[in-house]
């Protein structure tokens, strides 16, 4: 009796979860992929390799990869400082980390334009350059690595470090051999999230990059311009390409995490 009720409950829960996922994620994504194949695989390939689409895709993926790497290093350092150091204003800083999440991305773009645009009070004008694209992506993806590494660092057993010290390891050896291996799964997971978020970014790059085709136009903006010029199949093709890249990044992450958790 109890068993079948539990099984029934599980089935209902699974059903609801699957239905929800299907409606919100899977069916729309499948529709995009389906749409991209409307004119056959040849057209699909031509759509993503038109000079402007290809330039937008490579810029997006390249800039996102660079930003993900910067986040990997800087995010870990920021998490470290937030967890291990005691200084006035720490809790304020801790709150500020989430600001890029909370801010509408177009506002982020506006802020960056004001600070690093033609009227920059700092005298740094990055407007309409690729550096501006990287800067905008850095801004919106900042929290990912920080917020994945921080809880792991908080939970990390301090006695492991003391044990390493008593066994003769200096601070650097302890960091490399004990702390880092325990942080790497979280660091990679945050990096992959930052990467996938970056390849999809639209709002923050729009203002400061100037959307110059072949130079500063990112993939999401390119898709938007394809739709504006009534080329929905082409837009769907570029979307599908982005989707594939994101999927590869997430699968890689999953494989890495399985490899990590196997070691316990």
């Amino acid at each position: 009796m109890t068993r079948s009720r539990v099984a029934g409950g599980t089935a209902a829960g699974l059903g609801i979860a699957m239905l929800y996922l299907s409606l919100i994620v899977l069916i729309p994504l499948a529709a995009v992929v389906w749409r991209s194949m409307d004119e056959g695989p040849g057209y699909f390939w031509r759509s993503i390799t038109t000079p402007d689409a290809w330039a937008a895709l490579t810029l997006t993926i390249g800039a996102s990869a660079l930003v993900a790497l910067i986040n990997l290093v800087m995010g870990t350092i920021i998490a470290w400082v937030l967890v291990r150091d005691r200084f006035p204003g720490r809790s304020v800083l801790d709150t500020i980390i989430d600001l890029p999440f909370a801010l509408p991305t177009i506002v982020a773009g506006l802020v960056l334009l004001a600070l690093y645009g033609p009227q920059s009070p700092l005298g740094i004008n990055l407007a309409y350059t690729r550096a501006a694209v990287v800067l905008a992506l850095m801004f919106v993806t900042l929290p990912f690595v920080v917020r994945t590494v921080q809880p792991v660092l908080l939970e990390l057993d301090k006695e492991m470090e003391q044990a390493a010290a008593s066994l003769g390891a200096g601070p650097f050896q302890t960091f490399r051999r004990i702390i880092l291996p325990n942080l790497i799964p979280a660091m990679l997971s945050g990096t992959a999230l930052a990467f996938t978020r970056a390849i999809a970014e639209f709002g923050s790059t729009v203002l400061i990059s100037g959307n110059l085709p072949f130079k500063t136009q990112v993939a999401a903006v390119n898709i938007f311009s394809q739709i504006e010029s009534d080329n929905t199949t082409g837009a769907a093709a570029i979307s599908t390409a982005l989707l594939a890249v994101a999927l590869v990044a997430l699968i890689t992450l999953d494989v890495l995490q399985r490899w990590g958790s196997r070691r316990g």
Binding site: D157, E159, M160, Q162, A163, A164, A165, S166, L167, G168, A169, G170, Q173, R177, I178, P181, N182, R263, G264
Partner: protein
């Protein structure tokens, strides 16, 4: 002396944790730091290991002043209550850690680690990760890891505190035997007087941040420095203003010289041991007798008996 601690003081904030603590640990001995929790024993151990800095005082290890030496330069093995296992490394790599840091040749590391794993009976689990081991196995791994670097002294902080009673007793006996084989100067912290008496050569009783008494288990048990130590080391009861061990009291049905009349209130049989609870002039006391003695006496609640400390019993006068 393997370890000499001189006049160590240590406070956490405004709370003094160690006050003028001085102890000597003989080379090759197995010493217990015994005391109630909050007595400062773990802090003292961590000061010896270099994991805490004393505010004043000195620590000498093998005659060398180690007071300001970083933990990694002291060559002490430390075993933590909660194992502090390197959870991303296999049992083998955990034990090899100190040797890898010292850049020993691979073949030598392999040989030494396998020897140690055999010593702690984990040779078959060398490729497991700590999460796949039981608590007792993890602690044995931690011990092998600490021994791998051939430390001058081995320090154990409540090493069996997180284990269940059965495993605790096994590991206790095993630690004693291991020490007899390896002979490394060992100091362990415990709040369990039975553990200290069973395992140690020497007991240092710490309470309120001060050394209350030092001696062999027999000395500390038989000649406690004060009522606190006497109470902490074993069961006590009060007769005629004196603290006496309940097994040092005799009961008879007839009046005896120096005996006090008492009324039996309860007889509790605990297997081999029988606990006779009595009332002496309004005071409650208890006497520990064997089952045979209790059967021979044939007493029950309400009976009047006579009790007195056995000749030669150790007793401490309580200040009234």
């Amino acid at each position: 002396m393997a370890i000499e601690v001189r006049d160590v003081n240590k406070s956490f904030g405004a709370t003094p944790v160690l006050r003028d603590v001085s102890i000597d640990v003989a080379a090759g001995s197995l010493t217990a730091l015994l005391g109630p929790s909050g007595g400062g024993k773990s802090t003292l151990l961590r000061v010896i290991a270099g994991l805490e800095q004393p505010d004043t005082g000195t620590v000498l290890i093998s005659g060398v002043d180690a007071t300001r030496l970083a933990p990694q330069r002291r060559n002490v093995g430390f075993v933590f209550q909660h194992y502090a296992a390197f959870k991303h490394l296999t049992v083998f790599r955990n034990v090899a850690f100190g040797l890898e840091i010292r850049k020993r040749p691979k073949a030598e590391i392999r040989k030494r680690v396998m020897e140690l794993l055999e010593l702690v009976h984990l040779e078959k689990l060398a490729d497991r990760y700590p999460s796949q081991l039981s608590g007792g196995q993890r602690q044995r791994m931690a011990l092998a890891r600490a021994l791998a670097v051939e430390p001058q002294v081995l320090l154990l902080d409540e090493p069996f505190g997180a284990l269940d009673a059965q495993v605790r007793k096994e590991l206790r006996t095993w630690l004693r035997r291991l020490h007899d084989e390896v002979h490394v100067t060992t100091v362990f912290v415990t709040h369990d007087q039975e553990e200290a008496i069973e395992v140690a050569d020497e007991i240092v009783v710490l309470a309120g941040g001060e050394v209350v008494q030092t001696g062999t288990p027999g000395e500390v048990y038989d000649n406690p420095a004060n009522p606190f130590v006497m109470r902490f080391l074993g069961p006590v009861t009060e007769i005629g203003g004196n603290l006496v061990r309940p097994h040092d009291i005799e009961i008879s049905q007839d009046p005896v010289e120096g005996g006090s009349p008492a009324v039996v209130s309860r007889v509790v049989r605990l297997g081999f041991e029988v606990r006779v609870e009595v009332e002496i002039g309004g005071h409650e006391a208890w006497v520990q007798v064997t089952r045979d003695q209790a059967d021979r006496l044939g007493i029950g609640p309400g009976d009047t008996v006579h009790v007195r400390p056995v000749p030669g019993a150790r007793s401490l006068a309580l200040a009234v």
